[in-house]
C-alpha cells in the first residue's frame, strides 16, 4: 500500500493506563488520513487497551487525544461513535438468540413511537450484510445458526455500517478463513480510498504486506518501534515484540512417523460429520484445513465424545475400536483436547492457574479423595516451568492471563495427564507470535516423544509451520489430503471445489 499521505486525523499523546498493574505507559500514536496503522505486540502488550481508549470504552488515566482539531475524550463508546470513531472489539459481543438484523442495529433500531420498524430494519440489515459478503443470509435468522467466523463478519458489518472517520479493528481476522479475510481486506482498502483511517490490531505477520501503511510495535505497554509500509522482516518484528532474538528454524523438524495412535473409521454425526476416516501416527502432526463451517470443530468434538456420533468407530493405539461416548472415556483412552473456545470450554476463568492446570480425572491426591496439597502445588509448579507459563504465581486466576498463557495451561494439563493423542482446535487463535512459537515447539516435542496430534486451524501458515500432513474438510467430509510441500492455492482450491452449502443455513432462508 502507498505511504501515508493525509494529515493527522487522530492523535494520542502520553496515554497511560493501569488496571491492577500499569498496562500502558505514556504511549503516543498518530493516525493519518487514509492509512492503515497496524498495532502489533505480544499478548498483554496493551494493544486492546489502547484501542479501547481510542474507542471510548475505557478512560485513560493520563494523556490527551485530539480528533482533527478538537480534543477527543469520549465518555462512552456511543460518544466515540458519534464523533466518528468506531471500534470492533476483540471479544465478540453479540446476542446468539437474537436475529442478525437486531445484532447489527441493536443500539439504533429504527422505530416509530418506540415500536421497531421491522421492514426498514431488515432492509438496512441486508445492505450491511452484503458489505461483508453475507448478503445471501436472511437477516431474520438467529445469530446462533452462524459459526464463529460468520459471527465475526457480522460484528464487522455492524461497524462498517456506521459513518466513520476512524475504524478500529481488534484482531478481526482471528476467526476468519483466508477467503473471508480477503473480502475484509478489500473492504478496508475501499474505506481507506474513501479517506477513512484504520487502526488494525493483529498477530498475523503475513497480513502486514497486504494492508499495512505503518506498523507500530508495543511491548509491555510501551511504544518500541514504528515501521513505514508493511514490508518488515518478521524476525525483526518478533525481536521487537518479545525483546529477544526470534527462535531460529521451523518447529517442524519431522521425525519418522511410527505406529497408528489414532484411527477413526466411518465416523458420522448428522449432516455435519459424514463418514470420516483418518489415521494419526505417532510422531505426526496432522492438520485439518477447510473453510469456516467445514465441520472441523464438529469432527474433533465427535472424536472426543463431546458430541454423540451416530456411527463409526475410534481406536487409540492398540486399544479397542468403538465409539467414545463421553470425554471421560476419551481421556481414559488417552486423548486430550484443546477446545476451540478455550475461555468457555477449556478453563475456569475465575479459578487459579493451579486448579486449572490440574483439572483432570486423576488429580494429585493422597488417599480416599483428599487432595494432597503439597503434591498439587509441586505438580502445578512443574507445569508452570515446563510450559513456560507467564503468571505471577500459581494462585493467579487464569482469567487474568494472556491468551497464549491460557492455552499453555490447558496444554500442560493434558501433557501432565500423559495422553497419547491431542486434538487441537485453533490452538493459537489470538495468541501472539512468541507464545505461538512456544506452543508449536511443545506440540512438536510431544509427538517426538511418541504422541500424535490432530490440529484444526484456519491459518494456512500455521498448518504449514507445524503439520506433517494436511487433510482438507468440506461439508463434513474429508475431501483431500496433502503431504508436506503443499501450496496454499492447492489446499484452498480443494476446500472450495467440494464446498457444499450447509443445510443449516438453507433452513434459515426458508423460514
Amino acid at each position: 500500500m502507498s505511504a501515508p499521505a493525509g494529515a493527522v486525523v487522530l492523535r494520542a499523546e502520553g496515554i497511560s493506563k493501569a488496571w491492577s498493574t500499569p498496562v500502558l505507559d505514556r504511549v503516543s500514536l498518530d493516525l493519518r488520513g487514509g492509512e492503515v496503522h497496524v498495532l502489533m505486540g505480544s499478548n498483554g502488550a496493551g494493544k486492546s487497551t489502547l484501542a479501547a481508549i481510542l474507542g471510548g470504552l475505557v478512560p485513560a488515566d493520563a494523556g490527551q487525544m485530539t480528533l482533527g482539531p478538537i480534543p477527543h475524550a469520549p465518555r462512552s463508546r456511543a460518544a466515540a461513535e458519534a464523533a466518528g470513531v468506531v471500534m470492533v472489539l476483540q471479544e465478540m459481543n453479540l446476542f446468539p438468540g437474537m436475529s442478525l438484523a437486531e445484532n447489527l442495529f441493536l443500539d439504533r433500531l429504527p422505530s416509530r413511537f418506540g415500536l421497531v420498524d421491522r421492514a426498514t430494519l431488515h432492509r438496512r440489515a441486508v445492505v450491511a450484510l452484503e458489505r461483508v459478503g453475507l448478503g445471501e443470509l436472511d437477516p431474520r435468522m438467529p445469530l446462533a445458526r452462524l459459526g464463529v467466523g460468520k459471527r465475526q463478519l457480522v460484528e464487522i458489518a455492524r461497524a462498517l455500517d456506521r459513518r466513520c472517520r476512524v475504524l478500529i479493528l481488534d484482531e478481526p481476522t482471528a476467526a476468519l478463513s483466508a477467503r473471508e479475510s480477503d473480502l475484509l481486506f478489500d473492504h478496508i482498502r475501499r474505506l481507506v480510498s474513501e479517506g477513512v483511517s484504520v487502526v488494525y490490531v493483529t498477530h498475523r505477520l503475513d497480513e502486514l504486506p497486504r494492508i499495512a501503511s505503518r506498523v507500530s510495535v508495543l511491548r509491555d505497554g510501551r511504544f518500541v518501534a514504528e515501521h513505514l509500509g508493511g514490508n518488515v522482516a518478521p524476525g525483526r518484528l518478533i525481536e521487537e515484540m518479545s525483546g529477544r532474538a526470534s527462535p531460529q528454524g521451523s518447529a517442524a523438524a519431522s521425525a519418522p512417523a511410527g505406529d497408528v495412535v489414532l484411527a477413526v473409521a466411518g465416523l458420522e454425526r448428522g449432516a455435519r460429520v459424514r463418514k470420516v476416516s483418518l489415521e494419526v501416527r505417532s510422531g505426526e502432526v496432522v492438520g485439518l484445513a477447510g473453510l469456516v463451517g467445514a465441520g472441523r470443530t464438529e469432527l474433533l468434538r465427535t472424536i472426543f465424545g463431546a458430541d454423540p456420533a451416530s456411527a463409526g468407530s475410534v481406536r487409540v493405539g492398540d486399544g479397542r475400536a468403538g465409539l467414545l461416548r463421553s470425554p471421560r472415556q476419551a481421556v481414559a483412552a488417552g486423548i486430550g483436547m484443546l477446545p476451540e473456545d478455550r475461555r468457555h470450554d477449556g478453563l475456569l476463568l475465575g479459578q487459579s492457574m493451579r486448579v486449572n492446570a490440574l483439572l483432570l480425572p486423576g488429580q494429585p491426591r493422597a488417599r480416599s479423595g483428599w487432595i494432597d496439597r503439597p503434591a498439587e502445588r509441586r505438580a502445578a509448579e512443574a507445569i508452570r516451568t515446563g510450559m513456560e507459563v507467564d503468571c505471577t504465581s500459581i494462585e493467579q486466576p487464569v482469567g487474568q492471563l494472556s491468551g497464549g498463557n491460557q492455552q499453555k495451561v490447558v496444554l500442560g494439563r493434558w501433557l501432565a495427564a500423559g495422553c497419547r493423542v491431542l486434538l487441537c482446535d485453533e490452538p493459537t487463535r489470538g495468541v501472539d507470535a512468541a507464545a505461538k512459537g512456544t506452543i508449536h515447539r511443545l506440540l512438536r516435542e510431544f509427538v517426538n516423544r511418541g504422541g500424535g496430534v490432530l490440529l484444526a486451524s484456519g491459518e494456512l501458515a500455521e498448518l504449514r509451520a507445524i503439520c506433517d500432513r494436511v487433510l482438507v474438510m468440506a461439508g463434513g467430509r474429508i475431501v483431500a489430503e496433502f503431504e508436506r510441500g503443499w501450496s496454499d492455492e492447492a489446499v484452498t482450491a480443494a476446500a472450495f471445489e467440494s464446498a457444499v452449502p450447509t443445510s443449516v443455513e438453507k433452513a434459515g432462508h426458508s423460514s
Binding site: 461513535e81 438468540g97 437474537m98 443500539d107
Partner: protein, 315 residues
C-alpha cells in the same frame, strides 16, 4: 424461531388438553360452563403477574416480591375505598402506583448497587409484607359492592370483565417484548448485560423499568384479586411468586434470561389454573393435591426439555 415457538406452545396446548380430558372423565361436572367461568375468573391476577415476571426473567432478573407487593397494593386499595371513601376510579390508579413504587425501590437498589435481584426481592418481600400489615392493621378489609362489578360474569360471555383486561395486558406485554426497542433491549440485556452496555446502550433504565412494570402489574393483580374476593386480604399472594415463576418457566421462558415469551406464560397459567380447578372439583385430598401439583411442574418442564433435545437432534 417461529417453528420452535409453535413447538413449544404445541406441547403446552397438548398438556392442557390432556388435563381437560382427564378431569372431564374423572369429575362429573368438569366440562361445564361454570368450570370455564371459574377457571377464567381465576386467571387474571396470576396472568398479569406472570406477564411482569416473564419480562423480569427475560431481562435476567427475578422478582420474588410480587406476592407481597400485590398484598400491599390491595391493602392500599382497600384503605382508600373503605377508610378514605375514595371512588374506585381513583383508588385503582393509586393501587397500581403503589406496586410501581415498590418495583421502583427494588429496581433502584438492584441496579444501583449491582446486587442480584433474587436477594433484593427476598428482602423486599418481607418489607412489603410488613408494610401491608401496618397499612391495614393486619385486618382483612371488606370492600364489597364498590368493587364486585369488576368480577361479576358479563351477561353473554359468562366471564368477568377482568378477563379481557388481563388478556389485553398479556398481548401488550408480548408486543412490548417482541416489537419495541425497550423489549428488544430487555432480551439483549438478559442474554448479556455487559455486551449491551458495550454497544453504547443505557442498560440501567430498562433494568429498573422492568421492575417498575412488574410491580405495577402486581398492583393491577391486587385490583383483580380484590374484585374477585370483594375484600383486601393482608395475607394475599403468599406463594404467588413461586406459582408465577412456575407458569413462566412452564411457558418456555429460560430462567437464565435472554429468551422467552409472555404468551407462553399465559399458557403456563392456564395449565396451572386448570390443574387447580380440576383437583378441587375432584375433591382431592391435600396430600394428593400437593403430589400432583409438584409432579405436574416437573413433568411439564421435563416434556419441554425432551422436546428441545429431540428438536436439537433432528437439526
Amino acid at each position: 424461531m417461529n417453528r420452535t415457538r409453535l413447538g413449544e406452545w404445541g406441547v403446552l396446548v397438548f398438556v392442557w388438553l390432556g388435563l381437560v380430558a382427564l378431569f372431564g372423565t374423572l369429575a362429573d361436572h368438569f366440562l361445564s360452563a361454570t368450570t370455564l367461568t371459574t377457571v377464567a375468573s381465576r386467571l387474571p391476577a396470576l396472568a398479569v403477574v406472570a406477564a411482569g415476571m416473564t419480562l423480569v426473567i427475560i431481562a435476567g432478573g427475578i422478582d420474588l416480591s410480587v406476592g407481597s407487593v400485590m398484598a400491599l397494593s390491595g391493602a392500599v386499595l382497600g384503605v382508600a375505598i373503605v377508610q378514605w371513601g375514595w371512588p374506585l376510579a381513583a383508588a385503582i390508579p393509586v393501587a397500581i402506583l403503589t406496586g410501581a413504587l415498590a418495583g421502583l425501590g427494588t429496581g433502584l437498589v438492584t441496579v444501583g448497587l449491582g446486587i442480584p435481584s433474587f436477594l433484593v426481592t427476598l428482602g423486599s418481600l418481607e418489607i412489603c409484607r410488613g408494610l401491608t400489615y401496618a397499612v391495614c392493621d393486619s385486618r382483612t378489609l371488606f370492600i364489597g359492592a364498590a368493587i364486585r362489578p369488576l368480577a361479576q360474569p358479563m351477561p353473554i360471555l359468562g366471564i368477568p370483565p377482568t378477563v379481557p383486561v388481563a388478556l389485553a395486558v398479556v398481548v401488550a406485554a408480548q408486543a412490548i417484548l417482541s416489537r419495541t426497542v425497550f423489549g428488544r433491549h430487555l432480551v439483549a440485556i438478559g442474554a448479556s448485560e455487559p455486551a449491551v452496555r458495550l454497544a453504547g446502550i443505557d442498560t440501567s433504565t430498562p433494568r429498573v423499568a422492568v421492575f417498575v412494570l412488574s410491580g405495577a402489574l402486581a398492583g393491577l393483580a391486587a385490583v383483580f384479586a380484590s374484585a374477585r374476593l370483594g375484600s383486601a386480604d393482608p395475607n394475599a399472594g403468599a406463594g404467588l411468586e413461586l406459582a408465577a415463576i412456575a407458569a413462566v418457566v412452564i411457558g418456555g421462558t429460560s430462567l437464565s434470561g435472554g429468551s422467552g415469551s409472555v404468551v407462553g406464560s399465559l399458557l403456563g397459567v392456564l395449565v396451572i389454573a386448570t390443574l387447580e380447578a380440576g383437583l378441587a372439583q375432584l375433591g382431592a385430598s391435600e396430600p394428593l393435591k400437593r403430589i400432583v401439583t409438584g409432579g405436574a411442574i416437573i413433568a411439564a418442564v421435563a416434556a419441554d426439555a425432551l422436546r428441545r433435545r429431540w428438536e436439537g437432534e433432528r437439526g
